[in-house]
């Protein structure tokens, strides 16, 4: 099926969701009185994930879901409720629980009010073939991945997700939309050495299992026989999977409006906290996404860091009112506790994103394993594009080596001595304000000397302040073409390019 902005099934789902949302608002008015305010989000979903390990499909799941989330504000008090029981009795029980809870809650003087009627952005195109993909279609991509690893062990998943959602509130605002997404994430295993390939796209058709498997296998073969290096500060090139972890942690801990208000975030708007090469934009509609948040506010691109200067943090209506900025469209369930968090960050360098198709994740799923060129623009703040004349890095016995795309090749070529890092793992925050994080490398590390990867290295533990690592003068190059990396839940992704940093603090080796 071709990409389109809604088919019959989606319209049915959206209409049904909007109808449910309206019925819940009416119930609140009837049971809570005319003064009761209500906002409702109804989501219908089709989520499926085909998982493989030891080169066979061992878990294969699908879920048809429905969820209703209600927030009420009555007599100055606020409470929320949610549920999956959408029978008339179930909806009535949900409303009664929420109203009862609100009556027992203390006053909420900071209630920001409901979102007034307003237009929301147009729903980005979404792919019906992805939304309603059959299990055979996911299995076929897994088969291709497994075949492409050429006798190595393979493990990972292929998933598809579809959500149709509707919003309604008692102020007369309503909105609806649908989104679809696909992702594939797999490793190839050459003994104890793993290589990874990971990609998120708007269309399942853009996920090439064979290309991803080939990439993972090439990386795995290049990671065999690693040596242990002493811990210390190394210059690094982080590949997109690793950079995605940086973006995730910046989003959760740094650009979170609640943490910012409580002075638990490093973010200081107006201050040049990052290298001038760094621009960070949260772009929820840069891919297939729902056009409104949990409060019905339209979702739009939000620049968080502009050429190194922090300029904004994410807000819902409550934190936005406290900050005097208004909502940025980042309300989500639980945000009252955990804070509004960006979920679609894109890191770009001075050159920005060269190709919209790449940024939207609609093409270029995997770069060719043959480096076709590259233009090292060495030095602070350089942005590396694909045009130029860098030769394929050599020095490894394994054909193909660990560098599989031109941009990473260009970044590596500029590094006299450092480490190429594929992925980060189990990162946890030691201190939220300085955003000091510990974690480990995973799925391949290589020592680079004279711009060439010369040997595989065993995994390191690191302890690093993420803002410091990207601070002024610390960024030596940013790839121009982010690769969309999936998060653990659909709808959240990170547009991450390869990134060259002056230093990364490795605090332990594989032996401790």
């Amino acid at each position: 099926m071709s990409e389109r902005s809604g088919g019959r099934m989606s319209h049915d789902a959206e209409r049904h969701a909007l109808d449910l949302a309206g019925r819940v608002v009416d119930l609140v008015r009837r049971l809570g009185g005319p003064g009761a305010e209500a906002e409702v989000v109804v989501t219908r979903s089709e989520l499926a994930l085909t998982r493989f390990a030891n080169s066979f499909i061992h878990q294969n799941v699908a879920e048809s879901g429905v969820g209703v989330r209600l927030r009420v504000h009555a007599d100055g008090r606020t409470a929320a409720g949610s549920g999956s029981v959408v029978t008339p009795d179930g909806l009535a029980a949900l409303v009664e629980r929420a109203l009862t809870a609100a009556r027992l809650c203390p006053p909420d003087p900071a209630w920001p009010g409901l979102t007034p009627p307003a237009s929301v952005p147009a729903v980005p195109a979404w792919d019906e073939a992805t939304a309603f993909a059959e299990p055979d279609e996911r299995a076929e991509r897994v088969r291709a991945f497994v075949a492409a690893v050429g006798g190595l062990e393979a493990a990972g998943y292929c998933r598809t997700a579809y959500r149709a959602a509707a919003f309604a509130n008692s102020a007369g605002h309503s909105a609806q939309g649908s989104a679809a997404e696909a992702a594939m994430d797999g490793i190839a295993r050459a003994g104890a050495a793993d290589g990874v390939a990971r990609l998120c796209a708007d269309r399942l058709a853009n996920l090439d299992g064979a290309a991803l498997g080939h990439r993972a296998a090439t990386k795995a073969r290049a990671a065999v026989a690693p040596v242990e290096l002493p811990p210390g500060r190394y210059e690094v090139v982080l590949e997109p999977a690793a950079v995605a972890d940086l973006l995730h942690n910046f989003a959760v801990w740094g650009f979170n409006g609640k943490r910012f208000a409580e002075r638990q975030s490093f973010a200081e708007p107006g201050v040049a906290q990052f290298d001038p090469a760094v621009t960070l934009v949260d772009d929820p509609l840069g891919g297939s996404g729902l056009p409104f948040d949990a409060e019905g506010t339209g979702r739009r691109a939000l620049t968080l860091v502009d050429a190194g200067t922090t300029v904004a943090v994410a807000h819902d209506r409550r934190s936005g009112a406290q900050a005097g900025t208004g909502s940025t469209g980042h309300a989500e369930p639980g945000a009252a506790t955990f804070g509004p968090t960006p979920g679609n960050l894109r890191l770009t360098g001075p050159g920005g994103v060269a190709a919209a198709g790449s940024a939207r994740g609609t093409g270029d799923p995997v770069a060719s394993p043959t480096v076709a060129g590259g233009g090292p623009m060495d030095g602070p703040g350089a942005s590396v594009g694909p045009a130029g004349g860098v030769e394929t890095p050599g020095g490894l016995e394994t054909p193909g080596g660990p560098v599989l795309d031109a941009e990473t090749a260009a970044l590596v070529a500029g590094m006299e001595r450092g480490l190429l890092v594929s992925d980060l793992w189990y990162t946890r925050v030691l201190d939220t304000k300085s955003l000091v994080i510990t974690g480990l490398t995973r799925n391949g590390v290589w020592l680079v000397e004279g711009g060439v990867p010369v040997r595989a290295v065993r995994d390191f533990r690191f302890t690093e302040s993420y803002p410091r690592a990207l601070g002024p003068g610390a960024v030596l190059g940013i790839g121009r073409h982010p690769a969309r990396q999936p998060d653990r839940v659909d709808g959240v992704w990170w547009d991450a390019p390869a990134l060259r940093l002056a230093a990364w603090n490795f605090t332990g080796g594989a032996s401790g």
Partner: protein, 478 residues
């Protein structure tokens, strides 16, 4: 339809569609949480979820489908779709899969509960959190947080082998945390742990914690930590409090002995394990003080149940005996692959998730000492307690933990407070260095164990007591 009716219909439909085995779980869960901040209720959430998940084995391939609808038509459709998904799995087939034998069981089980957590007035629960957080704010905390959570789950399980089991499990818990914000860093103290202590029990657990009595202390400690000296860097003797040791067990023992990890089924995400099945029964995991059990029968502990989500009854087993690795957490299919004779540790996070190998209660048997005795026997070391950060590699070997608070130990006495205490090591080397273990055991509950794709959050229990470890690297920092 009743839960049993819907589950039976789904199982029969899966069999009719070609499955050689099928099981189904209907789950109804009510969840309630309340958080307070600086003397105000911040958020009250109540959720009700009801649905059915059915698992089908076609040949040696699994399929699973879940629906939020218990009608006969929906249940049968879910069974058929599970079988169809299993058939798709066969496009990338693996080795033959079987299930270890299990007695068909017809049973009913309920967890112990003196005070129904959902029956306690919201106003009383709110007063508890509001009062505690107000006290913390008054004693210097910049951010004073309180939280409780309640899960009330009823589930009906049916298998094609004749299982027919219903269970009613009530879980709850809570805690308080105080954060003080300094120049460029934050310091946090929590009681009894960050986000609280949890159990498969009633509200009596939260009452017993007496949160209000600890509010002033944790606030003052968080403020004092801002100016405390840094934990020194280097190798020293490390004494861990029970709460931190519980997480140490969770991360470096519990996950490591999960059979699905050992078999490589989690390789791409959660990871594998350093353990090799060929050495089950002979591998030296830790010192002779190390006796770890897998015990879902502990009354009130968060990983307790009557039957797991494959219908296997709760049974206590050894994981580590006198330092030697002797047991794993298994399911019926993984056990069959490994040549073992039992499952018993498979659970699903709700009706929409596939049952998978999860920790139950994995914990240390008590030792012969007390914390006071351990401190008194330590000439030079650091005492750390209450987890602040945790990280471990994908083989469950290389770990680094941060704690909220540390204390210098010199010549057998607890001395000054230390800030930013961290320690790091390699699992088996660390456990082999344990030379003193307290008898002051608490079954700590961990309600946020992440695993699986799609993600699942598991509830696990970890009996643990303070212990001493020799020559541990501490004071790792950026």
């Amino acid at each position: 339809m009743t839960g049993f009716d819907a589950a039976s219909a789904a199982v029969q439909a899966a069999l009719d569609a070609g499955a050689r085995y099928a099981d189904a779980r209907v789950m109804h869960r009510r969840y309630e949480s309340m958080s307070a901040r600086n003397g105000d209720v911040e958020e009250l959430t109540q959720d009700e979820s009801l649905g059915l998940g059915v698992r089908a084995l076609v040949g040696s391939s699994w399929g699973f489908h879940a629906v939020p609808d218990l009608s006969d038509a929906a249940a049968r459709d879910a069974g058929r779709r599970a079988a169809r998904i299993a058939a798709a799995s066969a496009r990338v087939p693996g080795p033959p899969i079987d299930l270890v034998p299990a007695e068909p069981t017809v049973a009913s089980w309920s967890s112990q509960c003196e005070v129904d957590p959902l029956g306690v007035a919201l106003s009383d629960k709110g007063d508890l959190l509001v009062g505690a957080t107000a006290t913390m704010a008054a004693h210097g905390a910049d951010v004073a947080e309180g939280l409780y959570q309640v899960w009330d789950t009823t589930k009906w399980f049916v298998s094609s082998e004749g299982h027919r089991i219903d269970q009613h499990i009530r879980e709850c818990g809570g805690g308080i945390s105080a954060t003080s914000i300094g120049d460029g860093e934050t310091q946090r103290r929590s009681y009894p742990s960050y986000r609280g202590q949890y159990g498969t029990t009633g509200w009596e657990l939260v009452t017993s914690l007496d949160l209000a009595a600890h509010a002033a202390r944790v606030a003052e400690e968080s403020r004092a930590l801002l100016t405390a000296p840094l934990c020194p860097a280097g190798e020293t003797d490390l004494i861990l409090g029970g709460e931190q040791l519980a997480l140490q067990i969770h991360e470096s023992v519990g996950h490591a002995i999960e059979l699905d990890r050992i078999l490589g089924w989690e390789a791409a995400f959660a990871g594998t394990s350093w353990l090799d099945l060929a050495r089950l029964g002979s591998l030296r995991y830790g010192s002779e003080l190390m006796n770890v059990t897998i015990d879902p029968t502990i009354p009130g502990a968060l990983g307790s149940f009557g039957f797991d989500d494959e219908g296997s009854p709760a049974v206590r087993r050894d994981a580590v005996r006198e330092g030697r690795w002797v047991g794993v957490l298994a399911g019926r299919d993984s056990a069959a692959v490994a040549g073992l004779d039992h499952g018993g540790s498979v659970r699903a996070d709700g009706w929409a998730r596939l049952p998978m190998v999860r920790m139950t209660n994995v914990g240390l048997e008590p030792g012969p000492h007390t914390l006071d005795e351990i401190v008194a026997a330590t000439d030079d070391g650091v005492l750390m307690d209450v987890n602040r950060s945790w990280s471990i590699d994908d083989k469950r070997l290389n770990f680094q933990f941060g704690c909220e608070i540390g204390w210098e130990v010199k010549r057998g006495r607890r001395g000054r407070m230390l800030r930013n205490p961290t320690y790091t090591g390699i699992g088996p080397l660390f456990w082999r260095s344990m030379d003193m273990l307290s008898s002051e055991t608490v079954a700590w509950g961990t309600p946020n164990c992440g695993k699986g794709q799609p993600g699942q959050t598991g509830h696990t229990g970890h009996p643990a007591a303070p212990a001493r470890f020799r020559n541990v690297r501490v004071g790792v920092r950026a």
